[in-house]
């Protein structure tokens, strides 16, 4: 990541192009990740609750804890790498970077999987919170990406 925070970003056209491509692909990833989770879990609270906790009347089994943990494990790793890359470039290109937005992006990415676990073990309302946090960190990341495009 040190390679991305070099002061030569404005003068080095090759590095600028590479950073632009990285941001473009990460933007594509963010959109596809939203679509994938929409199909897998669902962003409608009732669909998400049914997927995670099951539905006795419809004979739908709850998701296995091992599967849920695996999903959380993968999502956490991907979100931390994606956010870190975008935030590091964002701070570099935007001189008056919005610190509150950086907090919001990381906190929502951290709270999303925790909400999912709490929803699985304690109360359905946390699954709705997961939907909110999950979409929120994606929107923050997309904002970082759009700002990077505009500034570079």
């Amino acid at each position: 990541m040190k390679f991305l925070v070099t002061k030569e970003l404005e003068q080095n056209k090759l590095l600028r192009l590479q950073v632009l491509w990285l941001t473009a692909i990460l933007t594509l990833f963010l959109v596809t990740d939203l679509v994938l989770h929409h199909y897998q879990v669902g962003f409608d609270p009732s669909a998400a609750i049914e997927h995670i906790l099951g539905n006795e009347e419809a004979f739908i089994e709850p998701i296995l804890l091992s599967v849920l943990l695996e999903n959380i494990h993968i999502d956490l790793f991907i979100s931390m790498i994606t956010l870190m890359l975008l935030v590091v470039i964002f701070i570099r290109v935007v001189h008056d970077s919005k610190t509150k937005l950086i907090h919001l992006a990381f906190l929502s990415a951290i709270l999303a999987p925790l909400s999912l676990l709490l929803g699985y073990f304690y109360a359905e309302v946390f699954i709705s919170l997961w939907i909110g946090f999950f979409i929120l960190w994606h929107l923050c990341a997309l904002y970082f990406a759009v700002t990077i495009f505009r500034k570079l």
Partner: protein
């Protein structure tokens, strides 16, 4: 710039959560016992093991590089101290992934190697996170 510090600290928290969820899965699958570890890995097919090992080789190597490269670029850190640490870190990660392929019901050595190297990997990660938290 303080904003890099903020991003880094969140990154470390998320790394801690990734390790925590991984450890949780490992404990659930193996019960951290010799019998549990041996039966879990001996029952897995080559394809099943590869499905786990392949993404972990990539993710763990990236994670180790990101964590350890800070020791190389932060001023005031004695490189000699962390050269051996980085070498051991990568080695236990490799052993942790590869040893699973050699475990069968009677192989005590590889079961111990899997358990030991995985726990060492977690320990090294927490140590690196602790050191980096103190530095930032």
């Amino acid at each position: 710039m303080p904003q890099y510090g903020i991003a880094l600290r969140y990154f470390f928290v998320m790394t801690f959560l990734v390790l925590g969820s991984g450890l949780w899965m490992f404990v659930t699958n193996t019960s951290l016992s010799l019998e549990g570890t041996s039966s879990h890995y001996a029952l897995k097919s080559f394809y099943g093991l590869l499905e786990t090992v392949s993404p972990h080789l990539f993710a763990m190597a990236v994670l180790i590089f990101i964590l350890t490269h800070f020791f190389a670029i932060v001023s005031g850190v004695k490189h000699e101290n962390f050269r051996l640490f980085s070498l051991l870190f990568f080695t236990v990660m490799l052993l942790s992934n590869v040893s699973g392929f050699f475990i069968d019901e009677s192989s005590l050595f590889f079961t111990l190697l899997k358990l030991g190297s995985t726990l060492l990997f977690i320990l090294f990660s927490f140590f690196a996170l602790y050191k980096l938290f103190k530095m930032t």
